[in-house]
């Protein structure tokens, strides 16, 4: 068993360290907790009007688990494990829906004679909040980390400063800069101001 997580970090950090160390009980418990992956994706799929069939969702859950498993060493304990995993659930689902949309468009084109024109107006995204998820993921890493900690994990700038080993002022500058990039990205995506 690993030592408890450092002050200010979620207890799940110690748990994840046990998983990464290959402790059998921790790995089994981890797998059990990842039940949230298919459930969140099923909920999200419902919200989107069921673009994915049950068999697609099962494949997607496996794919998402692989992503989570591969990135587990990056978990830093700023939030509960499931909160961290949720982001991957959403992005994986969006990627999957997007691929499926592309594939169906490709089939439509192939059914037509010659090279049919594209369908202007067809959007590749699912919802406004999905766009926010994607825009957040597209931020430069420094800004993304500060915004994630501040907004998604509810950390103060003092805590962020300590967690990242930067001054509070630098954290604030990155936060402001990141919000500006998000504003520009979302404004473009929504075709309006993001306010």
């Amino acid at each position: 068993m690993s030592a408890a997580a450092p002050a200010g970090l979620h207890a799940d950090l110690a748990f994840v360290r046990d998983v990464l160390a290959g402790e059998a009980d921790a790995v089994r418990s981890f797998v059990e907790r990842m039940r949230c992956i298919p459930r969140v994706q099923r909920i999200r799929n419902e919200k989107l009007g069921r673009p994915l069939a049950p068999e697609d969702l099962a494949d997607l859950a496996q794919e998402t688990f692989s992503v989570v498993w591969g990135k587990l060493a990056e978990f830093r304990g700023e939030a509960a494990l499931e909160t961290w995993v949720h982001h991957f659930c959403v992005l994986s689902l969006l990627n999957h829906v997007r691929r499926k949309t592309r594939e169906s468009r490709r089939r439509e084109r192939e059914e037509l004679v010659g090279e049919a024109p594209s369908r202007p107006g067809a959007r590749t995204f699912a919802s406004d909040l999905d766009l926010v998820h994607e825009a957040l993921d597209g931020l430069p890493p420094d800004e993304r980390e500060v915004i994630r900690l501040k907004q998604l994990c509810g950390r103060s700038f003092t805590e962020i400063s300590a967690l990242l080993g930067i001054s509070a002022n630098t954290a604030k500058t990155r936060y402001y800069r990141g919000l500006g990039v998000l504003r520009d990205t979302l404004g473009k995506a929504f075709g309006e101001e993001s306010s």
Partner: protein, 238 residues
Amino acid sequence: MSESLPEEELDIVRRILTGDLRREEEPARSLLDRSPAARAELEQLEGVERRLTEIVEETADELHRAAAGTAEAGAEEERILAGFAEAAGAAPAQAAAPTDGVPRLARLAAVVTAVAATLLAVLFVLDRGGEDVDPLDPDIPLGPTVRLDAPAGAVPDYEEFRWTYELPAGGYFELLILDARAGMALDEVFASPRLREPRWRPGARLDSLPDEIRWEVTAFDAGGAVLATGSGEARRSP
């Protein structure tokens, strides 16, 4: 970031947003009273914060519902978990009964070996792919990337689209071009047929492409399975 505001005014907006200065305090109050641009800047960024807050609320709601379980969860979910366990190199709790005759120590050794092998593989992939990641690509953090070479950023025109990815035999690419101009909601303006080479020239289509684009390339294997994706942005700047 707004380029129309002087630096000192941007700094005041920054201090309001980060909680160092309240709106009713000077110099915030007088700036917001006299400058519509500063008010707009602040309102837009607070709008982004509200969207982020919505994500937090949505995440909490979905995790709460997931924890409560759903009526559909059942045998299918157990099959999915068994797949997870296999991927993690361990059996889930409910499937851990030693029915296969494998001694516990041997199973534990297998778990440790599998975890170590997986971690080594992940570290290798991360190390190899890290420098290729386009920070603007929303797909990138979840899988292998197609590296987009050109066009990128401001270019005179989109003479040729080029990217780097080594396809397996029978594999192919698809190129998607989206309208990234403000107000166009990333509408699709071109979707390619299957491409065997990592390049495409718009030719006669050049004039129909908008001045700001997002373009995405997806690599497929011979069976149509997605291997990697990449996306980037470019704009005409004569």
